[in-house]
Amino acid sequence: MLSERIQIISSEFGIDISKVKDLKDLENLRLKYLSRNGIIPLLFEDLKSASKEEKPLLGKSLNELRNYATNQFDSLKENLEISSSAKEDKIDLTLPGIIKTLGSKHLLTQTLDEIKSIFKGLGFSILEGPELESDYNNFEALNFPGDHPARDMQDTFFINKEFLLRTHTSPVQIRVMSSQKPPVRAIMPGRVYRNEAVSSRSYCMFHQVEGLYVDTDVTFAELKGTLVSFAQQFYGEGLNYRFRPSYFPFTEPSAEMDITCYLCHGKGCKVCKQTGWLEILGCGMVDPNVFGYVNYDSEKYTGYAFGMGIERTAMLKYGITDIRVFFENDIRFLKQF
């Protein structure tokens, strides 16, 4: 009977279409079922001989079969065409991509950027000052008396008796305090110069970040807290630290801050000279004499200052053992970071 054949053909079509793998199989499927002499059009021929009563119902199911088959065919054809075009377009996807070179900031700038962002988060401004400085700003107002041996701590390039290449970023402290009243909270990065023989460990210039905070209730305890917070953000949580007494003419009490050697974790190695500690910065409470030079009332205000070398910081962090690398600007070095 026609109605049974319709059902059988419907299920046979379902099986056949599920076996189609490529466009060639699909074409065979079309020829078998949908072409002019295919099975489905031939069923319509058979419909003509069906009885009047059966015709509407059989016609309906036959139409459904044809629509179903056509839809199935079309959507499969579309899918097969897409995948086959990809196959036919035989490009080598493993060829290298086209590299666009991005530049990069110098490693020292990157290191400084990181330091700046930490201190910005702690509420510090960022201020700058000149490299060619007066003896007054660089030494005298920072409580380095004219003939004091403390001046030997910093070998200086002089321009003449009154001018020099700044030996540290601390003169910016003087510039800032001379031009504004407390509170002052700022870091002052910049380039400094030392008349030291060039070697793997020292260069005639390097970079520092100075820090200064002056207000009515600034204590050594706050200095410690702030610098510990910095060190943890910069070098990573969980490090051990210590503050050792030291001497700088412009701070008192003065200290040096050490952190556990990141290489040997405190056991002692070549980098930390077997001590287990790495010195990362110098700091202290602003000496009242310095306040005197900038007309701050040292009874009312207290403050702290600190300074760290950026080269040293970057050397520690990235395992660089020769400071000269920073200033040779070998493009192979610059591209590494």
């Binding site: 990069s104 200086t156 210039m205 070998d330 493009i331």
Partner: protein, 802 residues
């Protein structure tokens, strides 16, 4: 400064304290231990051995073949020292021993065909001295096999302590011991001396007169007669050699020993060489020549403080004695000088002479004016013990204006205000007392103390606070875990340069940092160079006047290592005087300007599977500059000028101008400049003045709605005379076009025979649109034809394609 732990322990009872604890405490009180030599550790493998037999090495003239008895076994050892001989007791390093000098380990080794099992050592190899003339020969009584640590009493721990300039008191064993006494809360025990003096009064033997009391406030002296100058005993020699000092004789050695004990530099004169047995301390009036005891002739400036006898100088005060009054083997009578000199006078002379000695180092930092006599007596006592001399009765002590102890107050509230925590009054009292401060008064609020004269660094309350903080331990100062943040204005003066760096890196540039110190030649290229008074070398004697030379050195160095393609930038300061003849007296006499340099050389793109090789050219640097300015919204604010021809740096260049002044300049670098840096490739660069750039007022950015109506484009190409330049045509088109003409861009340019000699073709795309409506074809066509017409007329150009 070198410090011996064994020696320290003579002044403080720390018998049960390990050297590690001592080192740790010293580090944490501001006396930083930079190096530690533990003799027990270093010399643990060395032993005494007996040279039983010595033969000549069969294959080498200068080597000996020794049979060595180590107490346990007999070994064959090859020795190169000329003084080795059978029957000697020597220092022997068995196989496996680490030799301090050179840090190498002894292995069994064949030397000229014969195996040697160990090494007989010289003094320098053990770092006990610098003698390498032969091996050390030990006392016969030592048994072979005895560890050298025992035989030579090498059982000390020696420290190298970095003494900061504020702590002259710590330049001695007693000074360091005083800090330890406070740190460990034990007593400081200073040796007491009972002098056995002769009946001869010192005044009959010598006299002292101070002519310059400002530079020599105090001069104390002791006299000894009938001394026997000879080698010092072992214990004394060892003390000195341990500290790196060379023993000389029992007189000089004692003076050095006392200096390392008390910090007071002493000098011993041969009293019989002092004319009229008289000392006069005075400053020179004219330039003087003087031979110091190192046999060097020194030229002394007028005003140099000298120790003189009745006729001539016998020592440079506080720095070095003279050859003419030196202790010799025949010296019988001596005068021990123990003086206090003005710090800056000694420092000045030491600097001028370029002569720094253990004595001058201490005097220029400040010694204890109260300690002179005690040190002289201590020395007299020891010398008399070691040399058999008699100490003359009494002392000479010229000290007319006594230096008084200063008083200082400490408020406990201030202590807390600075440190951020409370230290109890009792603890404060204990610390200050142990450090030698005399507490004169104490209440709940404050204390007053007398500052010991050996602490010239202490005068103020803050100085006392530091003393208390460092002895109580910085580790006891709390570490706060919250801070207040100021809500006021925050500045970031580096923001603009940070932005420039971001743009440069996004355009593919790499940042350099160059040394601003340069040679005269490169600093002379532009501006008025500033010289350094005391340069390290001629290569670094001037400050840079431009960033270009430093960058070219970098290009050159990179090319030498095979890296020829570079796009580099630098942000840095350049320096220039306001005139060639200007003397820098104030900040207005020179410029320090921040500059930005962009530099490109080599290939802009490499040959690849889908790209061809391209080299940077003039237009690349130009477009980088444009991109840069566009990013900081200055692209339509500045004007360009173009130049062919001569400039210090460039042969083709352009400038960027703001209000008629040049704020940036760059182009192609001249061959002769490149040649100076050994560069054979084309280099393009552009230098901006950041300080000016930063100050140009910017219009604030406003949102522009995207265009709603279509754009109409038209192309045309003309043949021009080759003298016509692009900018002229561009300006003309822009000026002639209506409001509807929004953009003009060059899309083709060529010159060749087909269009005739001295002709060039330029093709432009014109873009028309309105933000208010859709344009109709006719109005565009009309304007387009009009433009063709006027260009043809204006430039005598010929429309192509017609």
């Amino acid at each position: 400064m070198k410090i011996s732990i064994n020696w320290l322990k003579e002044y403080v009872n720390l018998q049960n304290v390990t050297s590690e604890e001592i080192i740790s405490k010293l580090n944490m009180c501001g006396l930083e231990v930079e190096d530690e030599v533990n003799q027990n550790e270093i010399y643990k493998d060395f032993i005494v051995a007996y040279v039983k037999e010595k033969k000549k090495h069969p294959n080498a003239d200068k080597l000996s073949l020794c049979k060595v008895d180590t107490g346990k076994e007999e070994l064959e050892v090859i020795c190169g020292a000329p003084n080795v001989d059978a029957g000697q007791k020597v220092v022997f390093a068995p196989v496996g021993t680490l030799i301090p000098k050179g840090n190498f380990r002894i292995t069994k080794a064949k030397i000229r065909g014969i195996e040697s099992s160990g090494m007989i050592c010289a003094e320098d190899e053990l770092e006990l001295g610098d003698d390498h003339s032969g091996i050390m020969i030990l006392d016969d009584s030592l048994a072979q096999g005895t560890p050298i640590t025992k035989a030579l009493k090498l059982d000390d721990v020696l420290l190298e302590i970095a003494i900061t300039p504020n702590r002259p008191d710590a330049l001695s064993h007693i000074g360091v011991a005083r800090d330890l006494a406070a740190l460990f809360n034990v007593e400081l025990e200073i040796p007491r001396i009972i002098l056995n003096e002769s009946s001869t009064n010192i005044d009959t033997l010598a006299s002292v007169e101070i002519d310059d009391l400002i530079n020599c406030p105090r001069y104390s002296a002791k006299v000894l007669t009938g001394v026997n100058v000879k080698e010092s005993p072992e214990w004394l020699k060892k003390r000195l050699t341990n500290l790196g000092l060379r023993p000389i004789n029992n007189i000089v050695d004692v003076t050095n020993y006392i200096m390392y004990e008390t910090g007071q530099p002493l000098h011993a004169f041969d009293l019989d060489k002092l004319k009229s047995k008289k000392i006069i301390v005075k400053s020179t009036k004219s330039e003087t020549s003087f031979i110091t005891l190192d046999s060097k002739e020194r030229k002394l400036q007028p005003g140099t403080l000298m120790i003189c006898d009745d006729q001539e100088p016998v020592a440079i005060a506080g720095i070095m004695g003279g050859e003419n009054s030196e202790i010799s083997n025949s010296t019988k009578n001596i005068l021990i000088e123990s003086a206090y000199f003005n710090t800056s006078s000694i420092r000045k002379t030491s600097k001028t002479l370029g002569l720094s000695t253990d004595a001058s180092y201490r005097f220029e930092r400040g010694i204890d004016p109260e300690g002179t006599l005690n040190s002289a007596e201590r020395a007299a006592h020891l010398i008399s013990e070691l040399s058999g001399g008699e100490v003359a009765k009494g002392f000479i002590d010229v000290y007319p204006n006594k230096i008084e102890r200063k008083l200082a107050d400490l408020r406990f509230s201030r202590l807390e205000k600075i440190l951020g925590y409370i230290i109890e009054g009792e603890a404060v009292y204990a610390i200050l007392s142990k450090l030698g401060f005399e507490i004169k008064y104490q209440s709940d609020e404050k204390l007053t103390c007398a500052i010991p004269t050996f602490r010239p660094d202490i005068e103020r309350e803050i100085d006392l606070i530091e003393e208390i903080a460092r002895i109580n331990g910085y580790e006891n100062i709390p570490t706060v875990n919250k801070i207040n943040i100021l809500l006021g204005e925050k500045k970031d003066e580096s923001k603009f340069t940070d932005e420039l760096r971001n743009i440069a890196t996004s355009l593919g540039f790499f940042e350099m940092i160059n040394n601003p110190l340069q040679s005269e030649k490169t600093a002379s290229l532009i501006g008025n160079k500033i010289s350094v008074l005391n340069p390290q070398s001629a290569d670094m004697a001037y400050l840079r006047t431009s960033l270009i030379p430093g960058a070219l050195s970098v290009v050159s160095k990179n090319i030498n290592v095979g890296e020829k393609d570079m796009s580099l930038f630098e942000i840095g300061n350049v320096f220039s005087k306001r005139g060639t003849e200007v003397d820098i007296k104030s900040f207005t006499d020179f410029y320090e300007q921040q500059k930005l340099l962009l530099l490109i050389t080599g290939r802009s793109s490499n040959k690849g599977w889908n790209s061809s090789e391209k080299f940077y050219n003039f237009y690349d640097i130009k477009s980088f500059v444009e991109s840069f300015l566009a990013k900081i919204s200055l692209d339509n604010v500045l004007e360009d000028s173009y130049y062919h021809g001569d400039d210090r740096f460039f042969d083709l260049y352009f400038t960027k101008n703001y209000l008629k002044s040049v704020i940036g300049k760059g182009g192609r670098l001249k061959k002769e400049i490149l040649k100076h840096f050994d560069i054979d490739y084309s280099v393009f660069c552009f230098e901006f003045d950041i300080d000016v750039l930063k100050k140009i007022p910017l219009k604030s950015k406003r949102y522009l709605e995207p265009l709603k109506y279509p754009k109409v484009t038209r192309d045309f190409a003309f043949v021009f005379d080759s003298s016509v330049n692009y900018e002229e045509v561009l300006t003309f088109i822009r000026k002639s076009g209506s409001k509807l003409l929004k953009s003009v861009s060059l899309f083709d340019l060529f010159e060749n025979e087909s269009i005739g000699a001295n002709r060039k073709s330029m093709a432009f795309t014109l873009e028309f649109f309105s933000v208010e409506r859709t344009l109709n074809e006719d109005e565009v066509e009309k304007e387009f034809l009009g433009l063709i017409n006027s260009i043809t007329k204006k430039f005598d150009a010929k429309l192509r394609g017609n």
